[in-house]
């Protein structure tokens, strides 16, 4: 089972993504609600894929993404963004995010995305 780390500052989104992924054969090995914790959890849990919310307090998703990629250049991070954040998403791609998904999304979208990325 691919191991997933979920990073989002709202409990609702974390729960939604967790529910969708757990129903489809993924193992959620950790959750984080800000960039700093995300980095810590990445080191602890060594997931296969990370879902990263792009706007979070304390340390943005992009900063955390950078840090994680520095630590592990092979880290696969998928950005979760809202509409209208093209600029940030582009920054994230440049910083090493492997792809992104835009809210609101359907279960099959995120499942297919994570599956594809996990298999890369």
């Amino acid at each position: 089972m691919p191991k997933i780390l979920i990073v989002d500052d709202t409990a609702f989104m974390r729960l939604s993504i967790k529910t969708m992924l757990e129903n489809n054969g993924f193992e959620i090995v950790g959750e984080a609600d800000n960039g700093k914790t995300a980095i810590k959890k990445y080191l602890e849990t060594q997931p296969d894929v990370v879902t990263m919310d792009i706007t979070m307090p304390e340390m943005s998703g992009i900063e955390a993404l950078s840090a994680i990629r520095q630590y592990d250049p092979k880290a696969k991070v998928v950005i979760v963004s809202a509409m209208g954040q093209e600029d940030l998403v582009k920054k994230a791609i440049i910083s090493g995010a492997i792809s992104f998904i835009v809210k609101p999304f359907k279960e099959e979208d995120i499942v297919k995305t994570i599956k594809q990325i996990a298999e890369m």
């Binding site: 500052d9 709202t10 989104m13 304390e58 950078s66 520095q70 093209e86 992104f100 809210k103 890369m120």
Partner: protein, 690 residues
């Protein structure tokens, strides 16, 4: 409408989180209003709250809520980025609060399982109008389209490698993305970003893919076209493109020549993107603007939210465990056995059970702060509508009360606050004339008093008018006592009677004659009482007395014939066996007894409950003197069975709906499985006591 997610946990989480955000939003707005300015921090916070609500609502398919949140988010985005000088903050606050109210109503519908059918279109239009007004008034630099087009257009072209490499393959790829994947331009950008490494002469259509929304439409209709040269084989390139996320269709052609490249070969500036974000230095990094007050959703990992039903179930189980423990340790089979080790273990078990019970009780206790916080909003709305200036002072909000009880306090409290502002506090000018401060003060205080909690609502308004009250009571035939014999307290208590109202004009908010008596009734449901005090021109004080918890009480079990009853210990003053001849009858035939100079009526429980018992004479049974609300009487029973902590269970709904039974507050299960009715002393004392 959202039917897709009948997924209970997610829906509950959505409701919980959104409700929390709405509360925080309200506080932020009211606080900003008070200080007549919206700080950057507040604007940021409100922006983020709305952004979050927009996102989660969209995920749950509550599209009206999402659209409304989006409109407010846009508004605050403008405020955040442009920092306009001329803003009518009053209208702004009203608009946002209107939005908050709309969402609150929809959330209630969601909670109740009703159709979520509210329409926010009108409100959204109002917000958009306000926003465009702001824009024209503040003549901002350029029409802000989100995201800001700050960067110059850049063409991402790989640096021409050293020439001489002839064995390059030429490809043309056309990529179609899946419908609904969004931001196709950035997806296209991602492909280019990945292609650069191993390609030369990379051209693509549309060219301007990172900022332009039109490119999205183009890509959707025509696909994203890329022309490039590379060492890689066809299979390798095919594999590369097939890895694209949200790929719908790929057309990959190997070209004979690079003729098609001609139209692109115009000298262009070569700029390599290198805006990778540096490794964050967390300490110095965050500017003040970005510091957002920690919301409960992000911080506080030391708290979790628990479903109240689970807590109730836990309480039930602990209650049953207490009974089961008694059935083991007090089992008649081992009564006369000398079992030292067993007794020791039993005592330990009892100790732990007791602690468990205490713990569960403590968990159910919730501070009054959230309830009190809601009052700020009420205060604000009322002050606005009535044009009065009133301050709300809150003391002791950390005082805790059983969760069940909190629900019954909220409405009465709201009503009392409204009353104070509407009828208690005078108009500003009148106050000044009287030498008072222009702004009235309403004080909301909570404190512990023994096994009760007192919630006091005090205002410094004009107080209650005794004459008017008496007159109104007379008019409505509510006077039972001679008015000259009534104490002030009794006179004020008249306003708690149903059908009473002295308001000349019944305002929108209160005084429709359903006010105070409903408050009293609501309180009575949880065993609470209301008392009123007032001083003319100085103000009115209303005190709510509420038992700390309904769930467990110290009770004295008594026996009457085959029936068992439990009397709350706090109501018992004393118990004794009367001597022959001590009891007597008054001219109406009511039985009484004198104790230390005072006369108490006697209630024969076996008669009252029509239970057969052999013990009919007072000298053979026991009298228990009980008191509630300053009224006392003596209950006659067969014998006392012993003191016990009992878990109060309510009578079944069916019975409660059939009739309100005087004198019975609930029931409990005794150690042997039998049911004991818990007596409500207040219920007796009203009919019998002096």
């Amino acid at each position: 409408m959202s039917n897709q997610y009948s997924n209970e946990p997610m829906l509950e989480m959505y409701i919980f989180e959104t409700s929390q955000l709405l509360e925080q939003l309200e506080q932020a707005i009211i606080a900003s209003e008070k200080s007549s300015s919206y700080s950057q921090e507040a604007i940021n916070e409100i922006f983020r709250f709305m952004h979050t609500i927009k996102g989660s609502s969209a995920m749950m398919l509550f599209n009206e809520i999402s659209a409304l949140a989006h409109a407010i988010e846009d508004l605050f985005y403008f405020l955040r980025e442009q920092k306009p000088k001329t803003v009518d903050y009053e209208i702004l606050s009203d608009l946002v609060l209107e939005g908050v109210d709309f969402i609150k109503v929809e959330i209630e519908k969601i909670k109740n399982g009703d159709e979520v059918n509210g329409e926010a279109a009108l409100l959204i239009d109002k917000i958009k109008e306000f926003l465009s007004l702001l824009k024209t008034e503040n003549a901002c630099v350029a029409e802000l389209k989100r995201p800001e087009p700050t960067k110059n257009q850049q063409y991402y072209i790989a640096v021409e490698k050293k020439s001489g490499q002839l064995s390059k393959s030429i490809y043309k790829a056309t990529v179609f993305f899946k419908e609904g994947c969004e931001m196709e331009n950035i997806r296209a950008y991602t492909i280019i970003h990945n292609l650069v490494e191993f390609t030369q002469e990379l051209f693509y259509i549309p060219e301007n893919i990172s900022e332009n929304d039109e490119s999205i439409i183009w890509i959707r209709e025509n696909g994203f076209q890329i022309l490039f040269k590379t060492d890689k084989s066809y299979e390798e390139m095919h594999e590369f493109f097939m890895k694209t996320i949200f790929l719908k269709e790929l057309i990959l052609e190997q070209l004979e020549n690079d003729d098609e490249f001609e139209k692109f070969r115009v000298p262009k500036k070569i700029i390599i993107e290198n805006s990778e974000v540096k490794m964050p230095k967390v300490s110095a990094q965050l500017s003040k603007d970005n510091v957002v007050k920690e919301t409960t959703t992000t911080s506080n990992q030391s708290m979790i939210s628990v479903n109240v039903e689970k807590l109730d179930k836990l309480m039930d189980l602990v209650g049953e465990m207490v009974i089961a423990e008694a059935m083991v340790t007090q089992n008649p089979e081992i009564e006369h056995l000398e079992l030292e080790n067993f007794q020791k273990a039993a005592r330990q078990l009892h100790k732990i059970t007791g602690e468990l019970q205490d713990m569960v009780m403590a968990i159910r206790m919730v501070p009054l702060s959230t309830t009190f916080l809601k009052m700020h909003r009420i205060m604000r709305d009322m002050c606005k509508k009535l044009g009065k200036e009133v301050q709300l002072e809150v003391i002791g909000e950390e005082t805790e009360v059983d969760k069940n009880i909190i629900e019954h306090i909220s409405d009465p409290l709201m009503h009392l606050i409204r009353n104070s502002i509407d009828h208690g506090i005078e108009e500003n000018e009148e106050r000044l004339e009287k030498g008072k401060e222009k702004a009235g003060t309403v004080t909301l205080e909570a404190k512990n008093a023994g096994s009760d909690v007192l919630v006091i609502i005090k205002d410094d308004g004009k107080g209650l008018n005794k004459e008017k009250i008496l007159q109104k009571a007379k008019e409505n035939g509510l006077l039972e006592k001679n008015e000259n014999e009534m104490t002030d307290k009794e006179i004020y208590a008249l306003i708690l009677l149903p059908g009473f109202s002295t308001k000349e004009s019944i305002t929108e908010f209160s005084g429709r004659g359903v006010g105070m008596d409903v408050v009293a009734k609501n309180l009575a449901v949880v065993g609470g009482t209301v008392s009123v005090e007032s001083i003319a021109d100085r103000g009115t004080t209303i005190t709510l007395k509420i038992p700390l918890t309904l769930a467990i009480i110290d009770g004295m079990n008594i026996k009457v014939g085959h029936s068992r009853y439990t009397i709350p210990i706090i109501t018992i003053k004393e118990s004794f066996r009367p001597k022959e001849g001590e009891c007597f009858k008054d001219p109406d035939g009511n039985e009484m007894i004198m104790v230390r100079g005072n006369c108490y009526p006697i209630l024969r429980l076996h008669e009252h409950y029509r239970v057969h018992t052999d013990i009919q004479r007072f000298e053979e049974g026991i009298l228990i003197m009980v008191e509630q609300d300053e009224k006392a009487l003596c209950l006659f029973a067969d014998e006392l069975l012993g003191q016990q902590q009992v878990v109060v269970k309510a009578l079944p709904n069916y019975i409660k709906n059939t009739k309100k039974i005087r004198g019975v507050a609930g029931c409990t299960l005794l150690g042997d499985g039998s049911i004991s009715l818990i007596l409500d002393v207040g219920g007796f004392s009203n009919s019998y006591a002096m």
